[in-house]
């Protein structure tokens, strides 16, 4: 995983590498759908594990026939929930 200084607040996994923006590394950000009361460090860990799952699972199996845009929205909840379970965080 690498931190990307400056630029947009974005996180992504490509070619076996997860990149997270500078503001993401500090944990000072929000992720839609997550409990707003979660502390910043928990949010950061969830985001990192979520992205790591793109690298480990076969995205195409989950994506099926969904377009990139539809997949982008559709996978958020399940990936975040899986990360929360792995981390043992109560929401």
């Amino acid at each position: 995983m690498v931190a990307s200084p400056g630029g947009e607040n974005a996180i992504y996994t490509e070619n076996g590498q997860t990149t997270i923006s500078g503001v993401g590394v500090t944990g000072e950000y929000t992720i839609p759908g997550l409990d707003p009361n979660l502390d910043a460090d928990a949010v950061r860990q969830i985001a990192i594990i979520h992205e790591g799952m793109h690298d480990k699972v076969n995205d195409s199996v989950i994506r099926g026939n969904l377009s990139l845009g539809d997949y982008s929205g559709a996978h958020q909840e399940s990936f975040d929930k899986a990360a929360i379970t792995l981390l043992g965080i109560d929401q």
């Binding site: 607040n9 974005a10 490509e14 950000y29 195409s60 990139l68």
Partner: protein
């Protein structure tokens, strides 16, 4: 495959014979060093093709609301493959195949390449023999591997695992100017047009323009 090898060999030969900088071999994507970008009509989402990846993400507002300032956007992406050959300019990714003939596109053209069945659904500009601006369907009748297509015995209706149907508008001057996909074939001309303009080209050089 042979077409790809020939293009790579040509690029290599030009560089060694004239000691020039690397000349990129032409591909179905065009200049892969340059990104080709599409946005939805409301400009809240983009997709771009660059360096063999097809990436999509929400577009952040220039002036984010206070509640959005710390929102982390996720980009998702898939591999894009060059399936071009002597007959067709072609790319595919995520069960979606874009391809057009290298020669003239006829107003009633139907062809199969990279496992997808293509059909000119509507010709917006052309004559009896040539269509310059066309709405083309690309039917991925059956999944093959993790992101490719293959023809199904008996067609889509008998396929155990049908893929999406891609609709795109191809203009001979600009390449693919718009595209979109649906789970099953659109039934009317209006539905096809609507599907084909989900993503709209930004700039003057679209996919398959070279």
């Amino acid at each position: 495959m042979l077409g790809n090898l020939a293009r790579r060999f040509t690029a290599f030969f030009l560089c060694t014979a004239f000691s020039c900088a690397v000349i990129p071999a032409p591909t179905g994507i065009g200049d892969t060093a340059q990104e080709t970008r599409y946005e939805n009509a409301v400009r809240t989402y983009y997709e771009r093709f660059s360096s063999g990846r097809w990436q999509g993400a929400q577009i952040a507002p220039r002036s984010p609301l206070e509640s959005e300032k710390r929102r982390l956007l996720e980009k998702v992406s898939v591999d894009v493959h060059d399936c071009s050959n002597e007959q067709y300019k072609c790319i595919f990714g995520s069960y979606r195949v874009f391809a057009v003939p290298r020669g003239k596109l006829s107003p009633s053209a139907a062809y199969v390449t990279a496992g997808s069945a293509f059909h000119v659904e509507e010709c917006f500009r052309g004559d009896a023999t040539t269509c310059q601006v066309a709405l083309i369907s690309s039917d991925c009748q059956q999944h093959s591997g993790i992101d490719a297509c293959m023809e199904a015995d008996g067609g889509r209706t008998r396929s155990p695992n049908p893929g999406p149907v891609l609709y795109f508008i191809f203009n001979t001057d600009f390449g693919v100017t718009a595209y979109g996909s649906v789970a099953s074939p659109a039934q009317t001309a209006d539905e096809r047009r609507t599907a084909a303009v989900q993503m709209i080209l930004q700039g003057r050089q679209g996919l398959l323009s070279k």
